[in-house]
Amino acid sequence: MSDVLDAYPQLLKGAWTTVQLTVYGSVLALVLALVFGLAGTARSAWVRAVGRVYVEFFRGMATLVLMYWFFYALPLVGFRFTPMAAAVLSLGLNIGAYGAEVVRGAVRAVPKEQYEATVALNFTPAQRMRRVILPQAVALMLPPFGNLVIELMKGSAVVSLITIGDLTFRAKQIQNATGETLWTYVAILLIYFVIAQALQSLVRLAERRVDRMLGRRAEATG
């Protein structure tokens, strides 16, 4: 056990990489989710189709398969990715597809009267989205987005298989160096659990902020 405690700088480095992957992956996922989710609510059937294809394809694909494809297959046709880029891309593309469905659902859940009001007020479509629809939809998106970020964080453990020095990868190194199997894995499981709980609290904080911004009281939404 003390061997594992002595390896704490390694564990911290790994945890930092896991956090970085989570942040980069989530930012990419969020952008993709907004772009393709809004495409899914567009009036043009073509734009909607693009949204659907993205969602169906990347929801159907396993992150690890995608990562292997970026990392091992694509260099053969001339696209080279660093391991980190391959990891962030595949995590972001995958979680973004789930996020796009969240965005689409949330935008569609905003009451119809709100659309009608923006038409009556002669808002442009961009103004309508930015000032009326999205702020209300965001409140609905936050809890499922929070779950997705935690899924992404947990899912990032697979990057250790393409030799990125995340928490899981460090565990294998420490296990090899010290021969201490049990405590190494107990330690990183605990660290993952703590990161997940921290993310959960952040999401709850954000939910309360958004509720207050929209003039809702926390009790009213419960």
């Binding site: 169906e56 159907g60 297959a73 053969l76 990032s156 199997t181």
Partner: protein, 218 residues
């Protein structure tokens, strides 16, 4: 580098073998997930606060930590306690255990959805507890949650490549091994991707049909 169709044909039988392992692991893991999830849910409804809180923490812990690390735990840590599992066994148990914490939530929602009147009717009829659960509550709850349970089968299928981390010769592992022998990764890994998307899209269409059917009979 051009796509080589001849090579594609050569490796296809091996990949289908890998797919068979993937499907076997997913289905066996699913059986565990579906049964164990129900056990968690029922345990959380026992009057004992100790049991209730322990189950809550254990499931929350399993759900918030990565499946891959859990697989490593089963495969590398258990032998130090004298329990040695084969890769496929460890993989199936890992998948099942991980997803049981998700199916438990699904069951819980389904049971909460059964109208109160049904419980009251069971009391009025003086049904014993076991018959209340088996004949009244569970059949209604499970029918409601079938589509959601189906979605977790798809989710498990998509997590099955993680089993390569503990040396299971599943689909992605087979493709990777083939690639290292021939130094051509493009065809095998692309094929794996195509197979995954095909299976997932087809099964989500089936689940959606199941969803519509279960709404129709409500």
């Amino acid at each position: 580098m051009e796509w080589d169709w001849h090579y594609t044909g050569d490796i296809l039988p091996d990949l289908l073998d890998g797919l068979r392992v993937t499907v076997t692991a997913t289905l066996l893991g699913y059986v565990i997930a579906v049964l164990l999830g129900l056990v968690w849910t029922l345990l959380r409804r026992t009057p004992s606060a100790v049991v209730n809180q322990t189950v809550r923490w254990v499931t929350e812990f399993i759900r918030s930590t990565p499946l891959l690390v859990q697989l490593f735990f089963l495969y590398y840590v258990l032998p130090t306690w004298g329990i040695t599992l084969g890769p496929l066994t460890a993989g199936v148990i890992g998948l099942g255990l991980h997803y049981s914490t998700y199916t438990a939530e699904v069951y819980r929602g389904g049971i909460d959805d059964v109208p109160r009147g049904q419980w009251e009717a069971a009391v009025a009829l003086n049904l014993p507890r076991s018959r209340t659960w088996l004949d009244v509550i569970l059949p209604q709850a499970i029918r409601r949650v079938l589509p959601t349970l189906g979605n977790y089968l798809i989710a498990m299928f998509k997590d099955s490549p993680l089993l390569l981390g503990i040396n299971v010769a599943e689909l992605l592992n087979t493709a990777y091994t083939t690639g290292t022998h021939t130094l051509r990764f493009l065809e095998p890994i692309t094929l794996v991707g195509v197979l995954f998307v095909l299976v997932s899209v087809v099964s989500s269409v089936l689940v959606r049909r199941l969803e519509r059917r279960s709404h129709a009979t409500d």
